[in-house]
Symmetry: C2
Subunit: 215 residues, 2 copies
């Protein structure tokens, strides 16, 4: 039995929800509210599962897994069909590099705990936090567009004609970009791929507004 | 032929240098000075290889690979001995989660471009930048200690009795922690593993002060 500790708006949890849906794996959703009760992710019982107090956590028959990309690769290894990584090492490296450009170089810098620190220690206003957010999204998604545009590996999706780990990361990041009013106009390849993902049930059912804890 | 675009102090490049050494793979080091000439990583020829202007980049017979964790996994798939990931999916997930706790949740937040933004947009002083740096290192390495301490998967190294991707990430992060005077006293498991790594040639030869571009 799979249990996903999730928050509807968490971009990292959203990645894993997409992967679970693409694999057709049923799971129990256990919501962790990142803003309520001073942040439910900081409660001791949850911190036992996730030392850093981040979502998602996946429990698989008692085994506790953290870190969204590690979780998606685990799902891909334990449930190989449909594959979320290509078979060839160069293709796998390309998919992982696109995923990590988002998951390492964009998302962590804009995480809640960072924005809270900016407000607390630097007195950052909402405008300054929004500017920070948009800056890293713009820089990062421009890099993703360059990784995608004109590369023969790019197909209907980030890599080839079926969704991969890269698409599992791209869609949640684009959701965040829209939420913070970052225009996507400059990135035609990215927009085309997003449109291809958004018509698929696996992506639609993983969206924040489709979650049991959506507000 | 392998060419590594590297900077002696880059923590991400340091990870790949360790992996190359553990695999016994010779490579050409092509230094990219992150502070000289306004940042050599921003020069157009380099940005063609790395859209975000980050190091490392690995070239393997003309193929261009970005993102340190993707590169290490590529090396592990193309040169399987000695393995840098365990064979079982849960073990692989654990090693990747430790690696990603460092590579996603500690390192990007403390990257040069972030510290430069804090100074530019928030007028952060050196003391404030140091406090920022130490805050995320402390929070992150405390989480790594919890992932390591008392887990039966932990051995001489982060996972078992041979170095893995997790150790490739841990040592550069500890190097950075020391550079910014973050005490490691509270993390005995981490310190024990660091000591086990530091006597190995693969780790020693990858250290910043052993690089051709060291200052």
């Amino acid at each position: 039995m799979l249990t996903l500790y999730t928050y509807f708006r968490s971009s990292a949890a959203y990645r894993v929800r997409i992967a679970l849906n693409l694999k057709g794996l049923p799971y129990d959703a256990s919501p962790v509210h990142l803003l309520r009760d001073g942040g439910q992710q900081h409660q001791p019982a949850y911190r036992e599962k996730s030392p850093l107090g981040t979502v998602p956590v996946l429990e698989d028959d008692g085994a506790v897994l953290t870190q969204s990309l590690a979780i998606v690769e685990y799902l891909d290894e334990t449930h190989p069909q449909p594959p979320l990584l290509p078979a060839d090492p160069l293709g796998r490296a390309r998919v992982r590099a696109i995923a990590q450009t988002i998951a390492c170089d964009i998302h962590p810098v804009n995480n809640l705990r960072i924005l809270q620190y900016l407000a607390r220690e630097f007195g950052a206003s909402q405008d300054q936090k929004d500017a920070w957010y948009r800056h890293w999204v713009n820089e990062g998604l421009a890099a993703v567009e360059k990784l995608l545009a004109g590369d023969p590996g790019t197909g209907t999706f980030c890599h080839g004609d079926a969704p991969t780990l890269a698409d599992c990361c791209l869609i949640p990041q684009v959701f965040n970009a829209r939420r913070f009013n970052c225009p996507l106009d400059q990135w035609p390849t990215l927009r085309r791929i997003v449109a291809a993902c958004e018509v698929l049930d696996a992506f639609r059912k993983a969206a924040p507004d489709q979650q049991p804890d959506a507000e």
